[in-house]
Amino acid sequence: MTKPIPETQPWSEKFWEGTKQGKLFIQVCKDCKSKIFYPRKFCPECWSGNLDWIEASGKAKIFTFSTAYSMVEPKFMDELPYTIAYVDLEEGIRMMTRIVDCKPEDISFDMDVEVLFHERNGYFLPYFRPVSKK
């Protein structure tokens, strides 16, 4: 069963290009200096089109999480159990992600995690794992 890939916009392609190279890019506004997530056509703070990208450290903390054991879409059933989380990047950005490379019962609030990239049909989704797991 085909798993979904991100439905991108022209202005988010740089983000997904970065993930192919193992880089987590964050969009920034060169005028008001805002860090922007998710990427936009114009800065959501000041409507400037003068936008650029910086590479994030890839370090984050888990804000919240939920581990799924059943009742997910059939296309994801083969991955159960899996943990969805909101993580807060060091750069002040919050993202939805998966927490991998650990048992669900070992996941905790405010746990330090780091990015890794999971390939799916040519896209590389930013997943996170506990920092101690190298």
Partner: protein, 394 residues
């Protein structure tokens, strides 16, 4: 956003059940005709029709959007019709449209209606619809979230920050089902009310949500007749007057939702709506809360300042929000008690608000029901609309 401009003077509803043998139009006839009859008006007095667009059912959505309902029901006095959708907040917007038409003189009496037939939608289409609606297709959907997981993310953090226990969370189901078991319009009418322990013993779907804490999809429909507050007063019939309303937008994408802003939005909109109505929380006879999942109710109780911070779950576990408790709360049992009819749960909640204020709620009737707090929220929680409805207007 205005005090005392409209009133609900007629209600009609079919019980929430699995009814694949019925068509949407079959249900629309029943609910609209019952609401008009209940209002004491003639069908040709209805000058406007506003429908909540059933998004998951494209055929009926198109028929309603393109004006079929007044023709089908022979509403000869109808001047206009429209449908609108804002997820669970759809009915609030339907009522706002009715209010605008009434205030501007377009219509003197307006039907607001909703219908959903989940049982005629294939399982594949249901799964596809609920997997994507309200979930961002670029930044969320590829990771495999569901509505259950989105609620789990919020509930887990709330429990962590507040010390709310799984047993307290489970007791919300007990409270909601205690009302639903006494509601002839509920899919769980007459059914056993599970104890919190039994709720927790059911399968864990995703942390911290158990099977009995999720929703049963159902078919349903309801309708309301709305007129100006002035006309309602002249008609000398039981009515529910809209006395105040306030709203805050949070975010369209789940992950962009700042939890603190959401909590603040719940509190502030409730206070603003009460201020417009000229009442305080002590005057509220019924907290008719709509959240679609039980896990949000302790949070709601705390944000509305009905329970002190950290004690929302405790209040539910003590039975204070259950049938017979001292804080009447969600008297149709919200979606977990009523059965989930898509955008229709909020419509059913408005009908219940009117029913309680009209004194027609039977066994569930809240004594001396004078003021009702009623909220709605759209999509996966993009906004919060708080409103106050009253039995009378000065």
């Amino acid at each position: 956003m205005s005090k005392g401009k409209i009133a609900i003077i007629g209600i009609g509803e079919v019980p929430t059940r699995n009814m694949p043998e019925r068509t949407q139009w079959d249900i629309i006839y029943d609910t609209c005709m019952e609401a008009v009859k209940d209002s004491g008006l003639h069908k040709n007095d209805i000058e406007g029709v506003v429908s909540a667009t059933p998004q998951a059912q494209p055929k009926i959505a198109a028929e309603l959007s393109f004006g079929k309902l007044p023709e089908e029901l022979g509403l000869k006095g109808c001047k206009d019709t429209v449908s609108c959708n804002a997820g669970g907040a759809s009915t609030s917007n339907c009522l706002r449209m009715a209010e605008q038409w009434i205030e501007s003189g377009i219509a003197k009496a307006v039907i607001v209606q909703h219908v959903t037939l989940h049982s005629t939608i294939s399982l594949v289409d249901q799964i596809n619809f609920f997997a994507k609606a309200g979930i961002d297709l670029q930044w969320e959907y590829p990771f495999g979230p569901t509505y259950n997981i989105i609620m789990g993310l919020m509930a887990n953090r709330f429990m962590h920050d507040n010390g709310t226990t799984p047993l307290e969370m489970a007791s919300v189901v007990t409270a909601l089902r205690s009302w639903a078991s006494r509601d002839p319009n509920s899919i769980l009418y007459g059914k056993e009310v599970p104890s919190p322990e039994k709720v927790l013993a059911s399968d864990l779907l995703n942390t911290p949500l158990h099977k009995r804490e999720s929703n049963i999809l159902g078919d349903g429909g309801c309708a309301m007749v709305v007129v100006s507050a002035e006309d309602a007063k002249k008609m000398k019939r039981p009515a529910a007057y809209k006395l105040g309303e306030s709203v805050r937008y949070f975010s369209g994408t789940c992950v962009m939702r700042d939890f603190d802003k959401v909590f603040e939005g719940f509190t502030v909109t409730a206070k603003e709506a009460m201020a417009q109505a000229g009442i305080t929380k002590k005057d509220v006879s019924l907290w008719n809360c709509y959240l679609a999942y039980p896990l949000g109710h302790p949070m709601m109780a705390e944000m509305l300042e009905v329970a002190p911070k950290g004690e929302g779950g405790k209040y539910f576990l003590e039975g204070r929000m259950s049938f017979g408790g001292d804080i009447p709360w969600s008297t149709i049992g919200d979606a977990p008690g009523r059965g989930h009819t898509g955008s229709g749960v909020s419509a059913a909640t408005y009908v219940e608000t009117a029913r309680q204020l009209m004194g027609k709620a039977g066994e569930r009737q809240v004594k001396n029901c004078k003021y009702v707090f009623q909220n709605t929220a759209g999509g996966s929680g993009f906004n919060q609309i708080s409103s106050i409805w009253g039995k009378e207007i000065k």
